[in-house]
Point group: C2
Chain length 316, copies 2
């Protein structure tokens, strides 16, 4: 059930997956109707739906739309984006189930419940008056409908433990400026937008009390792949003693990938940075575990040494 202030990115209805087109937000609320795995794959690769948990759920529903060739559909969906591990995880979950649609719906509910739980646990790390900084978009739009880092911010706000959010605009696609500001405004949470490269000077001036970001894949040693620009934030946070939290459901943890070096990093079209100019556009970067204060999951806030903490929750 959606609460006031939340925007659901995905809805399964009458044999089709409805995807809120995030490329058109915040200006336009346009829904795309997907009737096949190919339609869903297109929505994922063109970023109509984005955010590691959300693309996992979308792919699960996409597989539920497959005809007889479920393996082909799974392969197609798996190939859309390489970095977020939630995608492969959700596909494997649905492939292993007797009823694909029932399992997709269940994953959707389970992941939303996981978000709510991790948001509560993360909010406990906040203190009244906190000015928190976040990067990219990790709210309801990026997830099963509540939010990871965005959920933590929301829960902290509801508990009176948040004064204001600094929102990184998040170039090149401006998920922070377009989507996070939109969600925070709807939830009534005060924020101020900054350029990505302003975060350092805010930390140096003592204007940031806490950083919380999402993740696209967490390796067995605690290294975190997330939207490009996360790694510089973590380095600056360490220098300025600002606690740096990663919020992600257990489905984002990839115990089969030993470290960040082994995480495939998507390189996107340089035209996203500036059309017509030679460029290089890595969509993600890797933050070494040593820079992460805690990983907020639905099973608790993991703390160093991550190798052990992750092994313990991965067995569950």
């Amino acid at each position: 059930v959606a609460e006031p202030g939340t925007v659901q990115p995905l809805r399964f209805d009458e044999g089709a997956l409805l995807v809120l087109d995030q490329r058109a937000l915040p200006g336009t609320e346009r829904w795309l109707r997907c009737e096949s795995p190919g339609d869903v794959a297109d929505c994922i690769s063109t970023l109509a739906v984005r955010g590691a948990p959300a693309i996992g759920i979308a792919a699960a529903y996409g597989l539920a739309l497959a005809g007889e060739d479920r393996d082909g559909a799974a392969e197609l969906l798996r190939s859309t984006r390489p970095t977020a591990v939630n995608l492969a995880w959700a596909i494997d979950q649905v492939l292993a189930a007797p009823d694909a649609l029932a399992r997709a719906r269940e994953l959707h509910r389970e992941q939303e419940a996981a978000d709510r739980r991790l948001a509560e646990l993360g909010a406990e790390r906040f203190s009244p008056g906190d000015r928190a900084l976040t990067h990219c978009n990790t709210g309801a739009l990026a997830t099963a409908g509540y939010g990871t880092a965005g959920g933590v911010l929301r829960a902290a706000w509801e508990r009176g433990r948040l004064h204001q959010v600094w929102v990184d605009e998040t170039r090149p696609l401006l998920q922070g400026a377009r989507l996070t500001t939109y969600e925070l405004a709807r939830a009534g949470i005060p924020y101020r937008l900054i350029t990505d490269s302003s975060a350092g000077t805010l930390m140096a001036r003592g204007m940031v009390d806490r950083i919380v970001v999402g993740a696209d894949r967490i390796a067995a040693n605690g290294d975190v792949a997330n939207k490009v620009g996360t790694y510089p934030l973590a380095v600056l946070a360490a220098r300025h003693d600002v606690p740096f939290y990663v919020a992600a459901p257990l489905s984002t943890i990839d115990a089969g990938t030993p470290s960040g070096d082994a995480i495939p990093i998507e390189e996107r079209d340089a035209a996203e940075v500036a059309p017509g100019l030679p460029g290089l556009n890595f969509a993600f970067d890797v933050t070494p575990a040593e820079l992460v204060t805690g990983i907020v999951t639905e099973a608790g806030v993991l703390e160093p040494p991550y190798e052990e903490a992750i092994a313990a929750v991965a067995e569950r």
Copy 2:
């Protein structure tokens, strides 16, 4: 004398200062005709001309256009932008001279000669095959007509000591994406454009051999105010052992400002980041001297301890 490939930002001709409108570049080459100190002040505060050395020269010519109220004109020009010290320096130089226009022309020539000299000295620090990263725009457009960090890159290229430039796009006003790519392309220097927050992952992957940036003001202890985003680069460079150079003429050194804490940092309209959203837009940040490998000036490459090195050149 302009060389092929350079674009001169300022020209004094027939009793007026002609300013190349950098807001319209690279799409349009439009010249603005300034016939009074007020016209020049408008060009500086609206960023038609920008770059610490260039606004110093523009202000010098602006003062040469003053009628009897030279002090009023000086005050007006001085108030346009707070961070770059070249502005106040150039105004003081012209105020102290018997013939304002002759002194402005002389400063223009002297500063261009200083750029050429510091570019040569900086290029000596480069090695064949170097992939250098730069931020904002510090070429001919930003200066008296040759470039500071941009001049170093150019001189390194001409001497076969540069393989390629990584250009930070430099949000919010995209001086890197609009102006630096334009200048590098005209000079035939290979480059690739990146988002500001990609620099960290390029350094972590060993893809950056050297960083060179300009400066708006250098304090007596070697702290450097420059375009916002410079400080995170310096922190990342230190972590990855990438040499980090600041290139600036002696006119950018403010021996009267003891440290970076005392440098006024311009806060610009948040609408530059995203119109209509609450934001915060510091135009500059401060890089502590401890993170700077060398300060490339026309009097030599200054090295730590900067307090002494700066005191020695400030006396000249």
